[in-house]
Subunit: 141 residues, 2 copies
């Protein structure tokens, strides 16, 4: 019964985002900007178009938020990489520091939520979600 996957996804996503985003906004960072920082930290050197596709976010939203991150010196855009014309997006040192802070906030939220309960096998779940993700966005791992 594949539809069981959809059943809890929305509520899990909304609950975790609402509570985590409150803490992230206290740093003066908007929720989507925080997601972008974490994604670019894991995937440096992509174009805005690739980021938009892989995060399943509207391209104009991604463009606007990346510009704000550039304005705030969290992100830089390289127009040439190894002699090729491109528009590759990277974190600055300040951006990497923010990524680590955001990871710690998210880690702490999930730890509080799950560490007392042994019914969720976190490493196995993370692998399954990664595999699911690669299927869903049609990029084989």
């Amino acid at each position: 019964m594949y539809f069981q996957i959809s059943k809890y996804l929305g509520a899990i996503y909304r609950k975790s985002k609402i509570e985590i985003n409150q803490q992230i906004q206290d740093l003066g960072v908007r929720a989507t900007q925080g997601d972008l920082i974490l994604f670019i930290n894991d995937n440096p050197g992509l174009t805005q178009k690739q980021i938009s596709k892989m995060m399943v976010l509207d391209a104009s939203l991604v463009g606007r938020d990346i510009q704000k991150l550039i304005d705030n010196a969290y992100v830089i855009r390289h127009s040439t990489v190894q002699g090729y014309r491109t528009n590759s997006i990277f974190l600055t040192d300040k951006g990497v520091k923010l990524a680590h802070t955001l990871q710690a906030i998210i880690e702490s939220w999930w730890y509080n939520c799950l560490s007392q309960d042994k019914s969720v096998d976190e490493p196995a779940l993370a692998v399954q979600l990664a595999n699911l993700y690669h299927n869903v966005i049609d990029l084989k791992p």
Copy 2:
């Protein structure tokens, strides 16, 4: 590393919702209304307040969409159940039929996405997501 759980959740949720919602909207049902129909089918007899908490949806949004579902005869509200004053929400026969149609749409989408790939253990993942859900909304299973 608990934060890995958050990593792919948003993109999986957005991608599956965008594509599934297009098909659901072709039936003349809004996305949140479809989610409510499926939830009430699984959890009959709850109050709006309980539904709002368990689905992690804004109470006024839930109230508005349930009223529309009542107007369209998919849902009924019982003000007394077994002699007690309450406001329990149930599906009508028409609502149950719609729930089955929605389940078939979602099933088919995930089947197309996952049936060729053996890296996602769907039954195990569904159990893990159910356990995760019960932790996240602070209701032990």
